[in-house]
C-alpha cells in the first residue's frame, strides 16, 4: 500500500473512490476516526439521513440500541455516532468513532481494533429481518427524523437561516435542508431503504480519516476492511458554484411569536476562476466582515449602535454563499439591514483600517496554528479543502494568509452581491 503526503496527512487510495488519510501523533489520549460519504443534494437526502439512524439501532451480533451501547461502554466509553452536513451542493454523512488510547487504561489490548470492528459491524452488518432492515426500526426512525426536521423551528437562529436559503435558492439543490424533507419521508418501505443502502455502500465515494498514536500502514490495512469489498464507486462529482445572476434584492418577512427578531441577509459570491490566493482572501474577508469581536459587523451593528446582541457572517466557499445574521429588535430592522450592507460596501471599496486588517489576519492565524492541537479540527481542515479540490498543509495556508493584501481583500468583497433579505419579525411583547 503506497502512502503519500496529502496536506498534513498520509494518504492511501484503496481504489479510485475510496481514500484513507492518516495522521499519526502521540499527543492525544484518543484515537479519532471519521468515515465520510457524500452525494449531491436531491430528493433522496432524507433517506440517506435515515439509513444511519437505522444502522445505529443494532447489528446482527448486537441487535438493539442498548446492546450496542453496552459494547461501547465496555470499550471504555467509546463514542460512535454520525452527523449529516451540507458541503456546497452535497450532502455528507459523517460517521465518527472516538476511542481512548489503550495506553491509559489497564487490562486492555487491541482497543482500537475492537472499536473499528464495532464500526464495521454497524456499517456493514446491520440486524435484518426477512433480508431487509427491521420494519419496527425503520418506522421508529422515520418518525424520529420527521420530528427532527420539524424541530428546526425550535432553534430560531438556524430556522431563520434555513428559511432565507429556501427563498434565495428556490429551485436549486442548495435550498434543500441537509436532513431532507418531511414529504419525502411519508412512505418508507424497509426493503426499498435496504436496497438503496446496499447501492450506496457499493457506489458512493468514501473518505476515511484517522488521528492518533498509530502505525499508518497497519491502520490503513484495518480500515480497508471497514467497507464492503468489490465496490464500484466513482469519484465524487464537484458541485455547481456558478451563481445565477440576480437583479433586484429580494425581501421576505415572516412573523413569529418570539422576543428577538432575526435578520438574515444572503449574498451570492462569484466563485469563477478563484485561485488558491483568492480562496484564502475570501475567507479572510469574511472574518473582517463578521468573524469575531473585532469584525465590522460586531463593531458597527452591535457595539456602536447597540442594535444587535449578535452580528456575524458565514461563508460557504464551496457554493459561493455568504450569510449575514443579526439578532435584533423588530423596530431596528431597517437600520440594522442598512448598516450591515454598508460594511460590505466599505470593505469592497478598501475603506477599512490597517488595524482591522491585521486583527482579522491574527484571528485567522491564531485559529490555523491551533488546529494541530485538535484531532477533529485536523480532519475538518483537510476535508473541507478536499471538497474544494485542494489539499494544502496548514503551513501553506498560514503562508497565504500572512501575505493577503488590502487590495485582494477588497477584490474578494467585490465578488459578493446581496441577494435576499429575510426577517423573522418577533411579535412577542416586551416583558
Amino acid at each position: 500500500m503506497d502512502l503519500e503526503r496529502s496536506g498534513d496527512f498520509l494518504h492511501a487510495s484503496l481504489d479510485v473512490a475510496t481514500h484513507v488519510f492518516v495522521h499519526s501523533t502521540p499527543k492525544f489520549k484518543t484515537t479519532t476516526v471519521r468515515v465520510m460519504t457524500s452525494s449531491p443534494l436531491d430528493e433522496r437526502a432524507s433517506w440517506r439521513a435515515l439509513v444511519p439512524a437505522v444502522l445505529r439501532r443494532g447489528t446482527r451480533a448486537l441487535p438493539s440500541k442498548a446492546e450496542l451501547a453496552r459494547a461501547l461502554e465496555s470499550l471504555y466509553g467509546a463514542s460512535l455516532g454520525y452527523d449529516v452536513v451540507k458541503m456546497g451542493e452535497h450532502q455528507a454523512v459523517i460517521w465518527s468513532l472516538d476511542i481512548v488510547n489503550e495506553r491509559f487504561v489497564r487490562n486492555r489490548n487491541g482497543l482500537c481494533s475492537a472499536g473499528l470492528d464495532l464500526l464495521r459491524d454497524v456499517l456493514l452488518d446491520p440486524v435484518l429481518e426477512s433480508g431487509a432492515f427491521r420494519k419496527d426500526y425503520v418506522e421508529q426512525e422515520r418518525v424520529n427524523l420527521v420530528r427532527f426536521i420539524e424541530g428546526l423551528i425550535n432553534d430560531k437562529v438556524s430556522y431563520a437561516a434555513a428559511r432565507m436559503l429556501q427563498e434565495m435558492y428556490r429551485g436549486e439543490p442548495y435550498a434543500l435542508y441537509e436532513w431532507g424533507t418531511v414529504e419525502s419521508l411519508a412512505h418508507v418501505e424497509p426493503e426499498e431503504l435496504y436496497a438503496s443502502y446496499r447501492t450506496w455502500l457499493a457506489t458512493l465515494p468514501v473518505d476515511m480519516y484517522v488521528v492518533g498514536e498509530l502505525e499508518p500502514e497497519a491502520i490503513v490495512a484495518e480500515l480497508a476492511g471497514l467497507l464492503a469489498a468489490g465496490r464500484q464507486a466513482a469519484p465524487a462529482a464537484a458541485g455547481r458554484t456558478s451563481p445565477t445572476p440576480t437583479s433586484a434584492v429580494r425581501s421576505c418577512v415572516e412573523e413569529q411569536v418570539v422576543s428577538q427578531s432575526k435578520l438574515v441577509i444572503g449574498c451570492r459570491v462569484d466563485m469563477t476562476a478563484v485561485d488558491d490566493d483568492m480562496f484564502v482572501a475570501l475567507g479572510l474577508m469574511n472574518v473582517l466582515l463578521g468573524g469575531g469581536m473585532h469584525s465590522r459587523l460586531f463593531k458597527q451593528v452591535r457595539e456602536k449602535e447597540s442594535l444587535a446582541y449578535y452580528a456575524t457572517s458565514g461563508l460557504d466557499r464551496l457554493k459561493g454563499c455568504l450569510v449575514i445574521s443579526c439578532g435584533i429588535s423588530a423596530e431596528n430592522f431597517e437600520k440594522a439591514r442598512d448598516i450591515s450592507l454598508r460594511q460590505l460596501e466599505i470593505i469592497a471599496a478598501g475603506d477599512f483600517g490597517d488595524d482591522e486588517l491585521e486583527m482579522s489576519r491574527q484571528t485567522v492565524l491564531n485559529r490555523l496554528r491551533g488546529i494541530p492541537d485538535h484531532p477533529a479540527a485536523l480532519i475538518d481542515f483537510l476535508a473541507s479543502y478536499r471538497a474544494a479540490g485542494r489539499h494544502p498543509t496548514i503551513a501553506e495556508i498560514i503562508e497565504r494568509v500572512t501575505t493577503v493584501s488590502r487590495g485582494e481583500l477588497a477584490s474578494a468583497a467585490q465578488r459578493v452581491k446581496p441577494d435576499t433579505i429575510y426577517l423573522m419579525k418577533g411579535t412577542a411583547s416586551a416583558s
Binding site: 461502554e73 465496555s74 491509559f104 487504561v105 428577538q260 447597540s306 435584533i328 412577542a428 416586551a430 416583558s431
Partner: protein, 428 residues
C-alpha cells in the same frame, strides 16, 4: 526551582503553586502542543446575591444578573474594549458566568506573555464608567431576549423556579430586563470588592508554555497591583425547605412539539469538597445506570417513541444546592412523566446489576481520561476542582473505590418522590 507534579494516571504534568502567596495557579505544560489556554476565575456567580460588603461590614442584597453584568463590564477599561487588544495580540478571548463562578479566558499560539499580562491586568483593574453601564444594559437586554426565545433554556430555568422557593439558583444567570436596570456603578464596585481578590480566585494554564517563566510573570504582575486581601468566599445557607415550591410548571412557546424536564431537588448539599465530589460521581453513575443509553428502561422508552435522541439526564451539585434533570422532546409529556416516575420507583427497589455497574465504571474512566485531551476542558476542570477544594484527579481516584451499594444508596436518597418537579414547554 521545580514544582512537583500532581500524581495522576492520565499522563499529564500538572503543578500547583500559590502565586504571591495568594493566587492559586494550576499549570499543565504540554510539549508538542501549539496553543496555550489560560483561564482565570473567581468564586462568584449568579447565586451570590447577598453578601457582606468588606468596606461597610454590612450585608447587602444585589439584583439578579450582577455577576454576569460585571463579567461584561470588566472587558472594558479606560482604553476601550480589551478583547480588541487580545485580537491584536493574536489571541481569542471570552468569558462566562455560571451559578457559582465567573471565568475569563483566552487562547493563543503566540505572544503568551503580553496576553497573560493583559488578562491579569484587566481582571485586577476594574473600570465602571456610567455611560458604559447604560450601553451594556442595552446589549444584555438583547441577550436576555434571546434566551427568552430558547425553549431549552426556558424549560431548565422554569424547572429551577419550580424546585426552589428562595434559593437564588432559581434566578436567570443574566438576570431580567428589570433587574439589570437596577444595577449601578456602586453595586458593581461592592461586588468587585467582595469577590475579586486573589484568595477567592484561581488561574489555570494548559498547553504550550514554560512553567518558570510564566510563573515569574504572574508573580510580578500580582506584585505590581494593589494587594487586595480577603478570604475565600463562603456561601451563606439559605432558608430553603426540602420540599419543592411547585410540582409543575408549563409555558407555551413556538416549538414543534412538547418538551418535558423532570427534576429532583438534592437535599444532601453539605460536606467538604471530597464529600461533594463523591456524591456528584455517585449521582451521575446512578442516573446513567437507571436511564442511560445502555439501560433496558431507556431502550423501552425509545422503542415506544416516548423519547428520542434529544433525551438527556444530568446532575448538578454545588455547596448549598443540587438537582437532577431528566428531559426529552416528546409527543406525550404526561405519559412520559408517569413512565419515568414509575421507572425511578422500580429502580429504587431493584437496584442495579454488578455487570452494569462495572461497565459504567469503565465508561466513566475512559471518558474522564479523554476529557483531558482538550486544553479548554482540562483548564476548566482545574479551575472547578480548585473551587471545590479537591484535586483535579479526585474523581478518577474515587471512581476506582466506589461500590455498587453506595450507588444504589445514593439513588434512593436523591430520587425521592416528594422532591420532584416537572417543567414543560408546549406548542402554542
Amino acid at each position: 526551582m521545580t514544582h512537583p507534579s500532581l500524581h495522576n494516571t492520565v499522563g499529564e504534568d500538572v503543578r500547583f503553586r500559590l502565586a504571591a502567596g495568594s493566587l492559586p495557579v494550576i499549570l499543565n505544560p504540554r510539549p508538542g502542543f501549539t496553543r496555550t489556554f489560560v483561564v482565570i476565575g473567581t468564586n462568584f456567580g449568579s447565586v451570590d446575591q447577598s453578601f457582606v460588603d468588606p468596606l461597610s461590614g454590612t450585608c447587602i442584597e444585589v439584583p439578579s444578573g450582577v455577576a454576569h453584568f460585571l463579567e461584561h463590564r470588566l472587558f472594558e477599561d479606560s482604553e476601550g474594549d480589551v478583547s480588541d487588544r487580545f485580537t491584536e495580540n493574536g489571541a481569542s478571548s471570552n468569558a462566562r458566568t455560571g451559578f457559582t463562578s465567573t471565568a475569563y479566558l483566552f487562547s493563543c499560539t503566540s505572544n503568551l506573555a503580553s496576553n497573560l499580562e493583559l488578562l491579569l491586568d484587566f481582571v485586577q483593574e476594574p473600570y465602571f464608567a456610567p455611560e458604559g453601564i447604560a450601553r451594556e444594559q442595552g446589549i444584555i437586554e438583547q441577550e436576555i431576549r434571546m434566551y427568552e426565545d430558547d425553549p431549552d433554556w426556558r424549560i431548565f430555568f422554569n424547572l429551577l423556579n419550580a424546585l426552589y422557593h428562595v434559593h437564588p439558583v432559581r434566578s436567570d444567570i443574566a438576570g431580567t430586563v428589570d433587574s439589570i436596570h437596577r444595577i449601578t456603578p456602586e453595586i458593581l464596585e461592592a461586588c468587585y470588592r467582595a469577590f475579586y481578590h486573589p484568595s477567592n480566585m484561581a488561574l489555570a494554564i494548559a498547553g504550550a508554555f514554560d512553567v518558570e517563566e510564566t510563573l515569574a510573570l504572574v508573580e510580578s504582575n500580582l506584585a505590581r497591583h494593589a494587594r487586595a486581601t480577603g478570604r475565600p468566599h463562603v456561601r451563606p445557607l439559605h432558608p430553603e425547605p426540602d420540599t419543592v415550591r411547585s410540582p409543575e410548571v408549563s409555558q407555551s412557546m413556538v416549538v414543534s412539539r412538547p418538551k418535558i424536564a423532570i427534576g429532583f431537588k438534592e437535599v444532601a448539599t453539605g460536606g467538604n469538597g471530597e464529600d461533594l465530589e463523591r456524591r456528584d460521581l455517585l449521582s451521575h453513575l446512578a442516573i446513567d445506570l437507571a436511564l442511560g443509553r445502555s439501560s433496558a428502561h431507556h431502550e423501552a422508552l425509545y422503542s415506544e417513541g416516548l423519547i428520542d435522541e434529544s433525551f438527556a439526564a444530568s446532575y448538578t451539585l454545588e455547596p448549598g444546592f443540587g438537582f437532577s434533570s431528566i428531559s426529552s422532546d416528546t409527543n406525550d409529556p404526561e405519559r412520559l412523566r408517569r413512565r419515568v416516575l414509575d421507572i425511578l420507583r422500580s429502580v429504587a427497589e431493584e437496584g442495579f446489576s454488578t455487570d452494569s455497574f462495572e461497565r459504567l465504571r469503565r465508561r466513566c474512566e475512559g471518558q474522564y481520561i479523554r476529557m483531558f485531551d482538550a486544553l479548554d476542558s482540562s483548564a476548566f476542570a482545574f479551575l472547578d476542582s480548585r473551587f471545590r477544594g479537591v484535586s483535579p484527579f479526585a474523581a478518577l481516584e474515587l471512581l476506582r473505590g466506589i461500590t455498587l451499594e453506595e450507588v444504589e444508596q445514593r439513588f434512593r436518597e436523591h430520587f425521592h418522590p416528594d422532591r420532584a418537579a416537572v417543567s414543560m414547554v408546549l406548542p402554542k
